[in-house]
């Protein structure tokens, strides 16, 4: 049995919302980011698109309406976690700008990261596969843009953490330095 739950003044968390077309590389960046945040000792939750659909959005498809509803549900759960001090990472195509902006409003402490497709990705193919009829709407003013699959996910994750520090969501002091990133890269190469 853990210790009893004691009063806390842990401040509100934040949500890093990764958005981008299928195949852009959101998933691996999200995993690396969640790992880095957890490594820093933050209570961290990764709301991965597929797992979320499995647990919360069974029965929803990929029509415009169903995607809107799915995006709002991710936003609702992220809101509950964020206001309880959790560092939340979400990854979903979430193709509609308005729905993402709704989530931004709802969550408050919201960091939108646009994961752009790497050059050469056949976007149309992914759209067809998923039955997407509308085009993906890129963020108008994301906090950060990353081109997916052009660097190790750990490096992208680290860039997001630096942005979080700039925005005041994580302490600057705890920033990993070059050495840590180099060690991460080495671990990657040694896999």
């Amino acid at each position: 049995m853990n210790a009893p739950l004691a009063p806390t003044d842990r401040p509100a968390g934040f949500t890093v919302w990764l958005t981008g077309v299928k195949g852009a590389g959101k998933g691996v960046i999200a995993k690396a980011l969640a790992a880095e945040l957890a490594h820093r000792g933050l209570a961290t939750e990764l709301l991965a698109g597929g797992e979320f659909r499995q647990n919360i959005s069974q029965g929803l498809g990929f029509s415009r309406d169903d995607r809107l509803v799915n995006t709002r549900r991710i936003g609702y759960v992220a809101k509950l976690l964020t206001r309880n001090g959790v560092a939340v990472v979400t990854t979903s195509i979430s193709p509609y700008r308005d729905a993402r902006d709704e989530c931004r409003q709802m969550i408050g402490r919201f960091v939108e990261v646009y994961v752009q497709a790497p050059p050469g990705l056949e976007e149309a193919e992914g759209m067809e596969e998923l039955g997407l009829t509308d085009p993906y709407e890129p963020p108008a003013a994301p906090e950060l843009v990353i081109v997916g699959k052009t660097e190790a996910p750990e490096v992208s994750a680290h860039r997001i953490v630096r942005r979080l520090a700039e925005l005041g969501y994580v302490p600057r002091d705890g920033d990993p330095d070059e050495a840590i990133v180099r060690a991460q890269l080495k671990a990657l190469q040694d896999r």
Copy 2:
């Protein structure tokens, strides 16, 4: 802007799962319980049946399958919150014993409170209204049984908190004493 999110060793939270037929009085007890837990300084979330359906289970009805899915979704969200140190209070009919036991397994730190209908409640009416075709399955071994609407909700809430302290989920030290309950009752009478 709040302070940056710092590392935490806040222990896991717990979920108090209120179950019982429609009209038993779960809602008011849940509100009073959430208020008392928040008053004690715990990060607290109330997952109320109606609001949950509105935000997460739009489109689900009241068939056996839909209720099972809805109960599992509440369980999933409660799990995410619980493992991040939140004191979660859920209130839903959640009529199926197996589904509640699934949630118990999934959440781990799970306190089932059976809110029994007060004498004279026309259970059949509620069932018909909600299109319930199966009978409500009472818990086999709940952590606590409360007969709804036979005492002030604040008193029921306090009994749940005492049980939480017995189970080690909240500190015993912080238990409000008789004086506090009497003050709560007075506040009620003064309304």
